[in-house]
């Protein structure tokens, strides 16, 4: 029975079985009816040595193609400072549980407080919770929060400019929770304020209005007048944003949002085939008791020291049980540490510089593509680091040419391509991509 993860020697096994009052390990399961007892061998591979596990993963890894990434669509290839993996590997962080025992969890509680502080700064909102799973589920939680805060109102208006991946998750939650989602149409690549205004006037019971910034086409929308219109009709205004972009873009707080949500993946988290990432959710002070998820607050201990602790737990699922409006527990804590360390390193200046680089790279790529004469911008609207172009030719063939040359040439969407550029993309890479595009 000896195995590297099991310390029991034969003598110890016997002594422990005796103490437990059974004759064999099998005796520990005497209460299980024989008809459902599993007696066979699992059809699994035989145990592997560490080297064999490495070989197995290396073989799997070799079947993935390593492409230079110009894709976005909510997931971006940003640079990860070397400090982060090293600090995240600290087993005191990695192998701990949710910080219920505050006396031996100040490390976790401290960084969550810092995380909440930084997300509030980025979004320009009063309050942040301790994290959500990802951007798409954070959006779904925001819709449910708006409905819960608005009591009997069961509708949420969602801009057509929301990423369809987010919309699919929203649709799922809405179906089961009994929330009606109504689409706000776009006009020239941006959410149509006059359509929203007339929807708010004609529809009963709208609890929230959700838009995305930048929207699915990468366009930076002008939300002037949106918050006022929402509030006139007692609907909460929700903005879904890519976290990194908020270091420079006008914030949800400045646009008058009541809830800000989005994904924190853009804060240096590797793309890793979809996860783990971290969602964020921030709100106004007024809404704090309606917000789902964990929150860490400052207090003091019985030695008069400043200390941090999980607080406002009466809002949470395990206390409210069937009255709960969210079932979210602790989640993605280590990824919250990831973005906290990222933001500590990048700081005020680094975030702006990285944003400037992404902006410049994207605009350079866009210009070069247009110069080939084979592309045109679908909408003449300002964008940040992602843009939507139509190609005069076979888009599928072009996309395949990119891959054959080692590029993930954007994301095919509708009848065009969405290209995204981050600070990681060099001028040389962009020039090479354009060469293929020009063929």
């Amino acid at each position: 029975m000896t195995y590297k993860y099991f310390p029991h020697t034969e003598d110890e096994l016997q002594a422990m079985l005796e103490k437990a009052g059974v004759k064999s390990l099998d005796g520990l399961y005497a209460q299980i009816p024989e008809s459902i007892r599993f007696r066979g061998d699992y059809k699994l591979p035989s145990e592997m040595s560490e080297q064999e596990v490495r070989d197995c993963f290396a073989k799997l890894g070799s079947q993935n193609e390593q492409l230079t990434c110009f894709a976005g669509f909510g997931v971006y290839d940003h640079y990860t400072p070397s400090v982060i993996p090293s600090l995240l590997a600290r087993s005191e962080f990695l192998t701990s549980y949710t910080p219920y025992q505050a006396e031996i969890s100040q490390g976790t509680l401290h960084y969550i407080f810092e995380y909440q502080s930084m997300m509030a700064e980025l979004t320009g909102m009063d309050i942040s919770n301790a994290s959500m799973y990802d951007g798409t589920t954070a959006a779904a939680e925001a819709a449910m929060m708006a409905v819960a805060a608005g009591k009997k109102q069961g509708k949420v208006l969602v801009s057509e400019g929301i990423n369809p991946r987010t919309r699919a998750v929203l649709d799922t939650y809405a179906l089961h929770k009994g929330i009606e989602l109504v689409t706000i149409p776009m006009k020239d690549g941006a959410t149509d304020l006059s359509a929203l205004t007339s929807q708010l006037s004609s529809l009963e019971g709208v609890a929230g209005v959700m838009v995305q910034q930048p929207n699915v086409y990468g366009i930076v929308e002008d939300f002037t007048g949106f918050a006022e219109t929402c509030h006139e009709h007692k609907a909460l205004f929700i903005i879904d944003s890519v976290a990194a972009d908020l270091a420079v873009l006008k914030t949800p707080g400045e646009w008058g949002a009541d809830i800000a949500v989005g994904d924190g993946q853009s804060l240096g988290i590797p793309m890793l085939f979809g996860g783990p990432y971290v969602g964020y959710m921030c709100c106004t002070e007024k809404l704090i008791r309606k917000m789902p998820g964990r929150i860490v607050g400052m207090t003091k201990d019985n030695r008069e020291q400043r200390a941090f602790v999980l607080t406002l737990q009466a809002r949470e699922q395990h206390i409210r049980r069937q009255k709960a409006t969210s079932n979210i527990c602790s989640n993605q804590s280590l990824m919250a540490l990831f973005v906290t360390v990222y933001l500590s390193l990048m700081g005020k200046q680094g975030m702006k510089e990285a944003a400037q680089l992404s902006y410049a790279g994207a605009h350079y790529l866009c210009e070069q593509l247009l110069k080939t004469g084979k592309f045109r911008l679908a909408y003449d609207k300002p964008f940040f680091n992602e843009f939507f172009v139509k190609y005069d030719g076979d888009t599928d063939a072009l996309y395949k040419r990119f891959i054959d040359a080692g590029f993930l040439g954007g994301v095919k969407y509708e009848d065009g391509i969405l290209f995204a550029v981050t600070e990681k993309r060099t001028k040389e890479e962009i020039d090479n991509l354009v060469k293929i595009a020009a063929l």
């Binding site: 310390p7 059974v22 401290h110 990802d134 873009l249 085939f273 409006t325 700081g347």
Partner: protein, 468 residues
């Protein structure tokens, strides 16, 4: 773990003009972000050099306790060892840069891993298909219930909105049902903590056509196996409902019993419990949902891609490492460790249900209640001795619940050390109760003022400065 409080916030170490990053030069020429797009107020992020950041978070980590630090008998959380090879595999560069929108023919290795892990989990649970979209245990519960709801809707069975749960269930079960638009009906427990079959029969007779599912853990929250599970499953199936298995307590079943064979139709697994992926201070986890053949078409879209893929990589490395030979030893050894502690302490701690348990068991506080020392006090005193506390005040069936779950990775010496300290605390409760009631004494901070935290509501640095 260092017992002196470090205590700083990164904002308090910030100095204007310092930087902890390096970025490439801008070779693109001048593309200025238009002012109309830009935020008016700067984000007040810290400005620190690299070493300051590294020391800060290293010092913070020293005020934390993890499985690698010491014994972590936290009931219902399965705090097993998180093997290092799993971390190494999850960090492989060939997976780090995969964009989730990449065409499938360029991500063959990653997709193969998903499918191999699915196959393994099917074999271990006796179910036919898994979805990896759920990001956590609670997310898995929700996904499982949505799957069940979708199934009933597809049959036009729109009235099936009631979910039966035992009254001892974790609070997340009813919350998940509520988010799914379903309603909880509680079935009573018997004195031994198992489902009251007579009460269940009454519920089924009353609510039959409205029952969507029954949601259970097995072994249950008290660590006891529900021996009547085949009858329970038949009763629920006969009235048209489905059986949902909350995989929170799957660990002791490895090598003993499979949920599919018990009669369950839908389940979630916490990869961060049974399959050794780290808890990370509260995530990221992974809550894949498995179903019987035919139900896979009802999986909902609860996330865009393959869930927390890197967590799945770790779980697969664990399964490969153990192999079929050792996976089946996990359950028996975990169960042995739990029974060994239980039997070694039941003369000084109150054991309400004295029987062979599975992976965990619950004491109802100290046997001698005259000292005034509570479960909270015992838990806090354990911290002084270098142990993480068990789960306390859950389940709600007892006033002084103290729920202990060792895992298969813990040695007899570790368990003996814990047992000795638990006995010593029971002794201290008699000889020096104040010492225990005012514990912990050897930790970075003492007991915290929860009421103050909820009253003053300071949840970020901006508020901290404003209210200082």
């Amino acid at each position: 773990m260092n017992n002196r409080l470090y205590g700083n916030l990164i904002f308090e170490l910030s100095k204007e003009g310092r930087k902890g990053y390096s970025l490439p030069k801008n070779n693109f020429g001048s593309y200025e972000i238009p002012a109309s797009m830009m935020r008016n107020e700067e984000a007040a992020l810290p400005e620190c050099d690299e070493l300051t950041v590294v020391r800060h978070y290293t010092n913070l980590s020293n005020n934390n306790f993890g499985v690698d630090t010491g014994f972590y008998p936290l009931g219902s959380c399965t705090m097993k060892y998180n093997p290092k090879i799993n971390e190494e595999m999850a960090a492989l560069p060939q997976f780090q840069g995969l964009h989730p929108e990449q065409p499938a023919n360029t991500t063959k290795g990653a997709l193969a891993l998903v499918s191999l892990l699915e196959k393994s989990l099917c074999e271990l649970t006796g179910l036919a298909h898994f979805t990896f979209k759920p990001y956590a245990g609670a997310h898995g519960e929700l996904t499982g219930l949505m799957t069940i709801d979708n199934y009933h809707r597809s049959r036009g069975d729109m009235q099936r909105k009631k979910v039966i749960v035992p009254d001892s269930a974790h609070g997340t079960n009813p919350a998940s049902a509520a988010v799914c638009g379903l309603e909880i009906v509680e079935v009573k427990s018997l004195a031994d903590g198992t489902v009251d079959f007579e009460d269940l029969k009454r519920l089924v007779a009353e609510e039959g056509p409205n029952i969507a599912a029954m949601m259970m853990t097995n072994p249950n929250t008290l660590g006891l196996f529900e021996t009547r599970i085949p009858e329970i499953a038949k009763l629920i199936h006969d009235c048209g409902g489905l059986m949902y298995y909350d995989g929170a307590n799957l660990n002791p079943m490895l090598g003993a019993c499979r949920p599919g064979d018990m009669g369950f139709d839908v389940m979630h697994i916490n990869l961060h419990k049974t399959f050794s992926t780290p808890h990370g201070g509260g995530g990221p986890g992974s809550g894949p949902v498995g179903v019987r053949e035919g139900l896979q078409e009802f999986f909902p879209t609860v996330s865009p891609y393959h869930g927390n893929f890197a967590v799945m990589m770790r779980a697969y490395a664990y399964i490969l490492s153990l192999g079929k030979e050792h996976v089946k030893e996990v359950g028996p050894l975990a169960v042995l460790n739990a029974n060994y502690i239980k039997e070694s302490l039941k003369d000084v701690y109150e054991l309400p249900i004295d029987t062979v348990c599975c992976h965990e068991f619950v004491f109802d506080g100290l046997k001698d209640k005259s000292t005034g020392v509570t479960t909270m006090d015992v838990a806090k005193r354990l911290l002084d001795y270098g142990y993480h506390a068990p789960t306390i005040y859950f389940p709600l069936l007892f006033h002084e619940s103290l729920m202990v779950e060792p895992t298969e990775n813990e040695s007899k010496e570790t368990l003996d050390g814990f047992i000795a300290v638990m006995r010593k605390i029971a002794e201290e409760a008699k000889t020096d109760p104040e010492l225990v009631k005012t514990a912990p004494h050897n930790t970075p901070i003492g007991r915290v003022d929860d009421v103050l935290a909820a009253k003053q509501v300071i949840v970020n640095y901006r508020q901290l400065k404003a209210k200082a």
